[in-house]
């Protein structure tokens, strides 16, 4: 059952068009990985789904209702949360206060401060530390925890592994099964094709604003993905 469906979505910034007639279905309870080169339109697609970028009417449906044109705070209230690229934490707040801002939408659900600390025990020890003093990996944990605090049905993660050491990335990806187990749907934007295929139920590839490949990863050979990623 499709939780979020995108139909013929074309958006851009002013005269500069980024996405062309995108069709996408994210099934409830699944993990989707989105791959694609820089500038392919991955972040733009996430911005359109979260309402940060205005999308044409009827182009995006979430849980059966059209959400294009809805303001971001209302979309968060419906159950869409984003872990933005580059984390975008609040530097003058502590770890715990960053998490509490995530609960601003007051959506009920399984995720509480306690559950986030259970998921990322490293954060419990540093809950009162200014968020800037944390390591990059811990900051990424705060960003994910902050998004979970809104108890989303759909969690969008933009480049969570960017700039992190492989061992740290591993510890972050370890959290995804627990998040999926709560029934949360996950969409991860990932540059590393190997990691994307390993974690995801379905994989989508964007290239120059168009979907070039979509489906369960085992359907595709390495050559298919390379072609979809780079073009022929």
């Amino acid at each position: 059952m499709s939780l979020c469906s995108v139909r013929r979505l074309s958006v851009g910034y002013g005269d500069f068009k980024v996405l062309f007639d995108i069709d996408l279905d994210i099934d409830e309870g699944q993990a989707m990985a989105m791959i694609g080169a820089n500038g392919a339109g991955k972040t733009t697609l996430l911005r359109a789904i979260t309402g940060l970028l205005k999308a044409p009417d009827d182009s995006i449906k979430f849980a059966g209702r059209p959400i294009a044109g809805t303001p971001p705070h209302a979309i968060v209230a419906l159950g869409v949360a984003m872990v933005p690229e580059g984390r975008c934490l609040f530097p003058s707040l502590s770890v715990e206060e960053n998490l509490l801002v995530g609960a601003h939408a007051k959506r009920r659900g399984p995720w509480t401060l306690q559950r986030v600390y259970d998921l990322f025990p490293a954060l419990l020890q540093r809950r009162r530390a200014p968020v800037e003093l944390l390591s990059g990996g811990q900051q990424q944990m705060v960003a994910i925890g902050r998004a979970l605090m809104s108890n989303p049905r759909l969690l969008l993660c933009d480049e969570v592994s960017l700039g992190l050491a492989p061992i740290v990335i591993k510890s972050i990806y370890c959290a995804f099964p627990a998040i999926l187990a709560e029934g949360t749907t996950i969409l991860v934007v990932e540059q590393d094709i190997g990691r994307a295929i390993a974690m995801a139920d379905t994989v989508t590839c964007l290239q120059e604003g168009k979907v070039t490949l979509a489906g369960p990863p085992k359907q595709f050979s390495r050559a298919d993905i390379t072609a979809a990623y780079f073009g022929r």
Binding site: H73, A77, P91, E97, A129, S150
Partner: protein, 348 residues
Amino acid sequence: MSLLELENASRLQHGVWIAAAALLAVLILAPWWADDSDLRSIAEFAYLVAIAQMWNLLAGYGGLISVGQQVFIGIGGYTLLILSLDAGISPFLCIPVAGVVSALFAVPIAAVVFRLQGPYFAIGTWVVADVFRLALDNVPAIGGGSGKSLTSALMSIPGWQREATTYWIALGLGVGLTIGVYLILRSRLGLAMTAVRDSVPASESLGVRVGRTKLLIYVASALGLGMAGALIYLTKLRVSPDAAFSMDWTVLMIFIVVIGGIGTVEGPIVGTAVFFFLRAMLADFGPWYLVILGSVAVVVMLKARRGIWGWVAGRFNFHVFPTRRRIRVNSLRSGFAEMPPSPRYLTE
């Protein structure tokens, strides 16, 4: 050792709170022990703290740098003038009403100036204030450009009662708005405000309504300034457009907040004390007074960008109002800075 330092800090904090309460009690009794000129000085101190707190809330926490906040002082002053002279309402009662009127004006003003960003926002607010000044210049019914005296509205009130009540209201505004800012900052709105100031896209994508949060701060600031404006003109006894909508009010607020420490609740109090001290010391220097005042501001901005209180708080780990969420206590175990626990209501 780390625990000991934490205890010392909070014991010192308790001491300051007790001293402040004792000082407040002494100040409440001032009409019985101080003479008229002392009373007026303390009242002026209190209302300067009040208006500086309002600018601090807006700029230091909300990130909205306005140079047109005098518009709300003026609206407060003119509300007092019209309601007490023409409608015959008690001037003291006019003060809360002036706050409400000012807050109501803030909504359409925000609708205009919030379309502008950064420096354009600052200039826009200034233009709005000047539009009000020029408009009131042309309303003869309330005195036009030369303004109108309030004396006739106050004549029926006995002298001592008038002076004492004015004083208490001023004191109440100074203390009340300081506590108000502190409480706002510890609330859910305060957390949202700080988040918006730190990163608009991140707070937006987490469900914080950025526009509404900014509007609430702006209206809250207008409410305080409107009350303060009415009170100020109750002490000055004459309202004219050039004085009430003067840029000087905002310059004073900015000076006090920048010197004292922007983004701290203590800053405006320290800044007002510094301003009073400099004004008394430099009273005989004529125009040099402003040159020296300006130089002090420049030096503070270059050498201590967080103002005097920002420097004290950073150096000695001390906060009277721990809202900056940055108390740093040396902890042996972790070896890095820690913060005080969040208040319980936030974690519930």
